[in-house]
Amino acid sequence: MNCTEFQNELADFIDGGAAAEAQGHLKSCAACTGLVADLKEISGQARLLAADEPSPEVWSRIEKSLELEGLVRAPKPARAEWWGAGQSRWAVPVWATAVAAMMLLAFGLNTARQAQQTPGSGIVVVKPAALVDDDDLKLLAAVEKHAPSKRERYKVHLEAVNASIRDAKRSVEQDPGNELARERLTQAYDQKSALYEMAMARSMQ
C-alpha cells in the first residue's frame, strides 16, 4: 500500500476499521504516521467541543448564513447528523467534523469582517468588541439623565478616546523605548479623564 492508497482509507483508519495492509503501511511511513497523529488530536478536541454544545439557535443561524452564502442548500440535514460523531449512515467522521468546525470558525471570522462592511446584508453579524466599557456606559447614563441630546455625542467621543488609548498602547508595546509613543499614551488617558470630568461636571450641575 502506498501513501495515496492509505489516505483514501484514512477515514476508516481513524474510525478504527482499518485493514491490516494499512497498519503495515503506517509502520513504514513517517509522513502518514504524523498525519494520523494530527487527525486523532483534532478528533479528540472535536469531542470536547461537542460535549459543550452551543444552543440550537446558534446552529440555525450558522446554517442560515451558509445558505445565504450559497455554501449549503435547503433542505438542510439535521444538525445532529452533520455535527454528530457518526451515529447515522450519513454521518461524517469525527475528524472531518473537526476540520469542518475549523472551516466554520474561519468562515465566521471572515463573515464578521464582511458584515461590518455591508450591514444589513442578512449575514450573521458578529459585532466587534465594544469600544465602551461598563464604566463608560454608567457615565453615558448619567449624561443622558442630565442632557439626553448629548449622550450620543459623548459616546462618539468616548469611543474615539478609547481607540486612541488602544492605538497608543499598541505603539508602546511595539517600541517601549519610544518617548513620543509613551507620551501619546499618557495623553490618551488624560483625554479620557478630562472627558469624564467634563461629563460629570455637567451631570452634577
Binding site: 448629548k150 455625542r153 459623548y154 467621543h157 474615539a160 478616546v161 481607540a163 486612541s164 492605538d167 497608543a168 505603539s171 523605548g177 519610544n178 518617548e179 513620543l180 509613543a181 507620551e183 501619546r184 495623553q187 490618551a188 488624560d190 483625554q191 478630562a194 472627558l195 467634563m198 461636571a201 455637567r202 450641575q205
Partner: protein, 287 residues
C-alpha cells in the same frame, strides 16, 4: 390708497410693539467687588457668550444681560473668591435661558469659566491664572501676559484659538475641536486633541517645552526663520514632512523613519518641540 398707508402704519406699530416686549423681557444685572491680588472669580453659564477683559485698578466688574425672567444671576463672595452662576428658575427655550456676561478683571486675579455653548473670549489679561472649560463653546484668548501663571483650556468639540500669549504654563485640550496657536510662547505648552487639527504659527520660543499631540488630527507648525528648537516628530500611521532646516543630532535614542518621523535641532535648540500623531499628517515649515 389711504387704506394701504394705514395698514403699513399698523404693521410697523406691531413690529415696534413686539420689539418693545422683547426688550422689556431682557434685563441686566451688574456686580462690583474690590479684589486683592490672588483673588479668583469663577463663573458657570450654560448658554450664552462670556467675554473677559482686563480692567485697571482693583475692581472686578461683572455685567450680565439676561434674556428672560426664567433665569437669574447668583453672585456670592466667599473671602477672596467670587462665585457667579446662572440660575435657571424655570424651564424655557435656549434663547430664554441665555445670559451674556462681560467681566473686567484686574491684574493677578484668577478666572475660571465653565460655559457649554459660549463662545468664551479672553483679551488682555495680566498675571491671571486662566481656566476655561467649554462643551461646544469656541474659546478665543488673545494678548495675554500670564506672568508665569497657568492657562488651562479644555473643550469637547469647541475650537480653541490662542494669539500672542506670553509666559504661561499652558495645557490645552480638545476632543474634536481644532486648536490654533499664533505667537504662543511660555515655559510649557501641552496641546492634546483626539480628532481636532492643531496649527501653530510662530512663537514656540523662550526655552520652553512644547508638546503637540493628536490622535487623528493633522499638526501644522510654521516656525520663524531663526527659531531655536530641538524637535522630534512622529506619525505612526500618517506622514511627517519637514521643510524647516534641522541638523541631525549626533547621539539620539530617537530613530527617524523617512516620511513618518524626523528629529533634529536648529540654532542652539533651546526650546523642545515634540509633535506626535497616530494617524494624522505632521508638517513643519518656515514661517
Amino acid at each position: 390708497m389711504e387704506h394701504g398707508k394705514q395698514s403699513r402704519k399698523l404693521a410697523w406699530l406691531m413690529v415696534l410693539g413686539c420689539a418693545g416686549i422683547a426688550l422689556a423681557a431682557e434685563r441686566t444685572q451688574e456686580f462690583k467687588y474690590v479684589a486683592a491680588p490672588g483673588a479668583s472669580v469663577s463663573l458657570i453659564n450654560d448658554i450664552g457668550p462670556v467675554t473677559i477683559r482686563y480692567g485697571s485698578g482693583r475692581q472686578i466688574l461683572i455685567k450680565s444681560k439676561l434674556s428672560s425672567d426664567k433665569v437669574e444671576v447668583d453672585a456670592e463672595q466667599k473671602g477672596n473668591r467670587f462665585e457667579i452662576r446662572t440660575h435657571v428658575l424655570q424651564p424655557g427655550s435656549e434663547q430664554e435661558q441665555r445670559v451674556e456676561y462681560e467681566i473686567f478683571l484686574p491684574a493677578r486675579v484668577g478666572i475660571t469659566v465653565r460655559a457649554d455653548n459660549g463662545p468664551i473670549r479672553v483679551k488682555g489679561l495680566r498675571g491671571s491664572e486662566i481656566i476655561l472649560e467649554g462643551d461646544s463653546a469656541p474659546v478665543e484668548i488673545h494678548e495675554v501676559e500670564a506672568g508665569g501663571q497657568h492657562l488651562h483650556v479644555r473643550t469637547v468639540s469647541g475650537s480653541i484659538t490662542l494669539g500672542n500669549i506670553a509666559n504661561a504654563h499652558m495645557e490645552i485640550r480638545s476632543l474634536s475641536g481644532a486648536v490654533s496657536l499664533e505667537n504662543v510662547s511660555g515655559p510649557k505648552l501641552q496641546v492634546t486633541t483626539t480628532r481636532g487639527d492643531i496649527r501653530s504659527d510662530g512663537g514656540l520660543g523662550g526655552n520652553g517645552e512644547y508638546s503637540l499631540i493628536s490622535q487623528s488630527g493633522n499638526i501644522d507648525v510654521a516656525l520663524p526663520q531663526g527659531a531655536s528648537v530641538d524637535m522630534m516628530a512622529e506619525s505612526v500611521e500618517g506622514s511627517a514632512d519637514n521643510d524647516f532646516p534641522l541638523q541631525q543630532k549626533a547621539h539620539s535614542s530617537f530613530l527617524p523613519h523617512k516620511g513618518r518621523s524626523f528629529s533634529g535641532t536648529s540654532m542652539s535648540g533651546s526650546s523642545s518641540v515634540k509633535l506626535s500623531s497616530f494617524s494624522g499628517k505632521i508638517r513643519v515649515k518656515k514661517q
